[in-house]
């Protein structure tokens, strides 16, 4: 499968689209907003039948390439994908013809309850099989390749017998899907679990990476330990920028998204973060 017929996203910076910025984006127009090359939205927020979200996204889509980033399918769920939700995703994909469609390597649904969180998986042969089946199903249903994002996590399961990057590589080679490489997630998880972030990244294959995510996180201290919380509520930190540079040195330029979901700043702040990514993307 390929998605070349979908108006591809250039290897420059995009930002997460937030309702607070709809009007400003439209009034600025793409020329005055040139640091932002494309937008990404959470697919679930455009699953209503109509209304202002669609009104604005349709207008913005006319000026910019779009990436749909799902947060609700629960690819790693043991109870099977929800066909209703897959259908909803397809409706949004058909409506907006996005350049990229992505989901997460995590789970959110058990006993039919949706927990609205991206919960980590035990990395076992069973999980691998289930996750790959679900990715195959999704790709076949949509008729196109998807990207899956590496998670950030605060705990690990005893039953895991594969390292996270190896688990991800298995998924990619078994299903032919691409990787949404979240540099901040790698940094957060590596700090939380005592892993080596550069070693993690060096295990990933450049040709599989279809997109990169960058975001801010926060640091909480308790019981003499520090824990990184993936809250997307601040600037990308210097360590993550350094890790991003390292990633680009291995992978080459890739479409890069600035995610900022809590304490959402003015559009100009997002544009400045995008500019910083664009400088690194163009520095080769």
């Amino acid at each position: 499968m390929d998605n070349n017929h979908f108006d591809p996203i250039p290897s420059n910076a995009g930002v997460g689209l937030k309702p607070q910025h709809y009007e400003e984006i439209l009034s600025l127009g793409p020329d005055a907003n040139h640091q932002i090359g494309w937008f990404e939205v959470h697919t679930e927020n455009y699953m209503g039948a109509g209304g202002p979200p669609h009104y604005y996204l349709e207008k913005i889509r006319q000026d910019y390439p779009l990436s749909l980033h799902g947060v609700g399918l629960s690819l790693g769920t043991a109870e099977g994908l929800k066909p209703d939700h897959l259908r909803r995703i397809k409706n949004v994909v058909d409506r907006y013809q996005p350049a990229l469609v992505s989901e997460h390597i995590s789970w959110s649904i058990a006993n039919g309850v949706y927990l609205n969180d991206l919960i980590p998986l035990p990395y076992t042969a069973e999980t691998l099989q289930i996750t790959c089946e679900h990715i195959d199903h999704m790709q076949n249903f949509l008729g196109r390749q998807i990207l899956v994002e590496n998670p950030s996590s605060y705990l690990l399961f005893k039953s895991s017998n594969m390292e996270e990057p190896d688990f991800i590589n298995e998924i990619l080679s078994n299903t032919g899907c691409g990787l949404l490489l979240d540099v901040n997630n790698i940094y957060v998880s590596c700090q939380n679990h005592g892993w080596d972030a550069r070693n993690y990244i060096s295990k990933l294959k450049p040709e599989t990476v279809g997109e990169i995510h960058l975001a801010g996180h926060s640091v909480k201290e308790w019981r003499g330990q520090s824990l990184r919380i993936d809250d997307h509520g601040s600037h990308v930190c210097d360590e993550v920028w350094a890790l991003y540079e390292y990633t680009l040195s291995l992978m080459g330029p890739k479409p890069t998204l600035i995610e900022w979901d809590n304490n959402i700043p003015a559009l100009i702040t997002l544009s400045q973060e995008a500019e910083r990514a664009n400088i690194l993307l163009n520095s080769d």
Partner: protein, 88 residues
């Protein structure tokens, strides 16, 4: 019976004709007036971030229901009327 049906038909026809004429002319404003309230970000949003405060690191656990020591303390104080029951 036929006469009744005929008069109903006439009633509807004349009411519609008058309503259409008045509506087209935009003359007399209709009685119904709608309240508008515009809100782009009104509906709950899905997200992929962890809430900053989710790492409390204290004994506080969200989702644990405490005994109901809390009482409503909002603008409900401005609503009066005989149908209010006394608080329990």
């Amino acid at each position: 019976m036929t006469k009744n049906l005929k008069s109903k038909s006439l009633l509807v026809a004349s009411a519609m004709a008058a309503a259409l004429t008045l509506s087209a002319a935009g003359a007399a404003q209709a009685k119904g007036k709608a309240e508008k309230c515009y809100g782009i970000v009104k509906a709950g949003q899905n997200d992929c971030a962890t809430a900053t405060t989710s790492c409390a690191g204290t004994a506080t656990k969200d989702g644990q229901s405490d005994s109901w020591i809390y009482v409503p303390k909002g603008t409900c104080a401005k609503i009066i009327g005989s149908s209010l029951k006394s608080g329990k």
